[in-house]
């Protein structure tokens, strides 16, 4: 098993005809069971065309009717990305993975409000996507660094996640599923939600969590772990050296009004029994040690 995506997922790419959508769809098709899982593309006005033998539709609803797709991945530019999320939610897909960076905050607040009471889950935006190694890759992460295994990975960043996955693979620890939840302040699934899924997943033995400054998601997750988590968790929080009041690249990475510091997050995680390292180069080794 795995979380969120597996070989039965049927994926529609929203924004499949753009440069980014095309490039990454090709990479995903070439990864493991990609050719079986990627079944549809959507670009309004280009219905009837195809890309790499994948049929293109004008709308997500139509794509769902014709192909049975249940997961969408969004590469639509920021101006139109929130509307693309709305469309996938209205089509009642199970999961939407939004890669797009730079969606206006107000657009995301509205999109999240429209999701209330619906069953669709959202990963992202501003994230690398989700990969279940040797099965399916939906997103922009380099596929080859991953190995099939039992470690779940959840993270707010892109290249830092690749660094962690690479470390895990090199110490012989493969991954069950890796989820990039994104660096935006308003997003879909949080650390806590992904942690709960990993806790239930029979293929996951332990979890690596990468957090960063800003917001209180890591603290919320720490509280959840303390009460419910039955599997070991290793964590790293980026931004111990980040100054107050400055946005560190990600729209959500900011210490403001004394809130969102790395030290607070580290303290919360430690008191929840999480194995926290302050050295980002030792995440893989620490996990190895914890599982020994």
């Amino acid at each position: 098993m795995s979380i969120l995506i597996d070989s039965s997922s049927r994926v529609v790419t929203q924004g499949i005809t753009g440069k980014t959508g095309q490039f990454h769809t090709r990479m995903c098709l070439d990864y493991a069971a990609g050719r079986d899982c990627f079944v549809a593309g959507v670009t309004p006005g280009k219905g009837g065309e195809s890309f790499e033998d994948i049929p293109i539709f004008d709308s997500v609803v139509e794509a769902r009717e014709k192909t049975g797709c249940n997961v969408s991945v969004i590469y639509v530019p920021p101006k139109f990305a929130a509307a693309a999320i709305d469309e996938a939610v209205d089509a009642e897909l199970d999961l939407v993975i939004c890669i797009t960076e730079g969606i206006p905050v107000h657009d995301m607040i509205l999109a999240r409000q429209r999701m209330v009471g619906k069953n669709t889950l959202l990963v992202g935006p501003n994230c690398p996507g989700v990969v279940t190694p040797d099965v399916l890759k939906i997103g922009i992460m380099p596929g080859y660094i991953h190995q099939k295994g039992t470690i779940g990975v959840v993270s707010r960043s892109g290249t830092l996640t690749y660094e962690v996955v690479d470390q895990l693979s090199k110490v012989g620890l493969g991954q069950s599923t890796c989820v990039g939840i994104g660096g935006d302040p308003i997003n879909g699934l949080k650390h806590r939600d992904i942690m709960a899924l990993f806790n239930e997943d029979s293929a996951t033995e332990a979890v690596v969590m990468c957090g960063e400054i800003g917001g209180t998601d890591e603290e919320d997750c720490a509280r959840w772990i303390e009460q419910h988590m039955t599997k070991p968790v290793v964590a790293f929080i980026a931004g111990v050296t980040a100054p107050t009041g400055k946005r560190m690249g990600h729209a959500g990475a900011i210490i403001a009004g004394g809130k969102g510091t790395a030290h607070e997050k580290i303290a919360a995680l430690k008191s929840a029994g999480v194995h926290v390292t302050q050295n980002p180069a030792e995440i893989g080794a620490l996990m190895k040690q914890v599982l020994r």
């Binding site: 990454h24 990479m27 920021p78 101006k79 730079g102 969606i103 206006p104 905050v105 107000h106 657009d107 607040i109 509205l110 409000q113 429209r114 922009i140 380099p142 080859y144 660094i145 993270s155 707010r156 960043s157 892109g158 290249t159 830092l160 996640t161 690749y162 660094e163 690479d166 302040p185 308003i186 960063e212 400054i213 800003g214 209180t216 919320d220 790293f236 980026a238 931004g239 111990v240 050296t241 980040a242 100054p243 107050t244 009041g245 946005r247 560190m248 690249g249 990600h250 729209a251 959500g252 990475a253 900011i254 403001a256 009004g257 809130k259 969102g260 050295n279 980002p280 180069a281 030792e282």
Partner: protein, 395 residues
């Protein structure tokens, strides 16, 4: 308060108040001035017998730092304006270096009966817009939240349905607004919410909101944070940007699409990805060094961007060594390595340079570097890279 979703484009108080005025929110009569003479002329033109002289910088806490003075005569206006203009104002939000005051806001003084607090903010936890109000106007709202939480009311606004006016009215009662101004307060809440939406704001704070002696409500201070991601639909804000408030290196970086922030240390860092860039700063510190900057060259860095990154880092006078940490994903290490070699040819890097490459096509990338005439120290892990760069600085 300091917003949790900060903007590169920051507004001065006088600019925020002009926006409020355009949306029928009452603000004091005032004029923006760049010299003492202008300030005196403004006070005379505004009339009355009391004026407030306010430093305009992009930071809060100005009153405590001596940047806000009440004048009871034109001579006092002259005195305070000459003291404040040109001063380096240090507040708890400016950082230790402070900010030089280059403009003033002169306003007519008001008869104050009570001071309240009103704020609209994006609540990251609940993922909704929150209206916050308190009877404790003029205070730092974060302190009120900690020390007197019962004096802070917060309501969340359904973005689809808008403000629930029954709830808003109960807020007006809870913060002690006199019954007589409730209708006016409702109109004010509505107008502030409209400003928040139409400007794509992430924070709008009126602190204090004043009830005057003659029973009117006036926004005596105003702060608006804008959402950088939404600025494509607000060309009108472009001309409000005050470049003199910003770090010149950060301006240059944002022009070439780099995320750069100056820090106090002496080790320059060039990294791809924001999370990895922070982690790189952290590991330098862990090994006893001090990062001079945060720099994310992004996922698709070009040779031009890499050379711009080197140029910007080298302008920072503290920098004694540079650490390059790249995890090649879709952006291949050989492309990045080529970029570094080209950049080094354009920019004269005379400082110790430590390069750590990992990820896609790493062998090719390392080959390109070692075949070039670039002088550098190679590292395979982040640990090794951090150790080497910290050692290089100590030498």
């Amino acid at each position: 308060m300091q917003g949790e979703i900060p903007s590169k484009l920051k507004l001065h108080e006088h600019q925020a108040k002009e926006i409020l005025r355009a949306h029928q929110v009452p603000v004091p009569h005032g004029m923006t001035c760049f010299s003492v003479e202008e300030a005196v002329t403004a006070a005379v033109a505004l009339g009355g017998s009391r004026w407030v002289v306010k430093a305009q910088i992009h930071a809060g806490g100005r009153g405590k730092g001596g940047g806000v003075k009440v004048a009871s005569s034109i001579e006092d206006v002259r005195l305070y304006a000459s003291k404040i203009l040109g001063m380096t104002l240090v507040t708890d939000q400016t950082g230790p270096g402070g900010k030089v005051v280059e403009r003033l806001l002169i306003e007519r003084g008001l008869e104050i009966a009570s001071e309240l607090y009103i704020g609209l903010v994006v609540d990251r936890g609940i993922q909704m817009i929150a209206l916050m109000a308190s009877s404790e106007g003029g205070m730092n709202i974060e302190d009120v939240a900690i020390n007197d939480p019962e004096k802070l009311c917060t309501i969340h606004i359904d973005s689809i349905e808008g403000v629930n006016w029954d709830t808003a009215r109960s807020v007006a009662t809870q913060i002690g607004l006199p019954e007589a101004v409730h209708d006016e307060a409702m109109k004010l809440f509505s107008n502030l919410y409209e400003v928040f939406l139409t400007c794509d704001a992430t924070l709008l704070e009126v602190n204090p909101l004043v009830v005057t002696g003659d029973g009117n409500i006036v926004a005596v201070d105003a702060k608006i944070d804008l959402d950088d991601s939404a600025m494509y639909r607000h060309p009108e804000f472009g001309e409000l940007r005050d470049f003199s408030e910003e770090d010149p290196n950060e301006i240059e970086a944002s022009r070439v699409g780099l995320n750069y922030i100056s820090l106090e240390g002496n080790i320059g860092c060039l990294v791809n990805g924001a999370g990895l860039a922070m982690a790189t700063m952290d590991i330098i510190k862990l090994h006893g060094g001090d990062p001079a900057n945060f720099l994310d060259v992004g996922g698709g860095a070009t040779a031009e961007q890499v050379s711009a990154a080197f140029r910007i880092m080298l302008k920072h006078s503290n920098v004694r060594a540079i650490l390059v940490n790249i995890f090649g994903g879709i952006m291949r290490c050989d492309v990045i390595a080529q970029g570094i070699v080209e950049a080094a040819q354009q920019v004269d890097i005379r400082l110790p340079l430590v390069i750590r490459l990992e990820g896609t096509n790493v062998e090719k990338g390392r080959q390109i570097l070692s075949d070039s005439d670039l002088s550098y120290l190679a590292a395979t892990t982040m640990d090794e890279a951090a150790q080497k760069v910290v050692e290089a600085v100590r030498k």
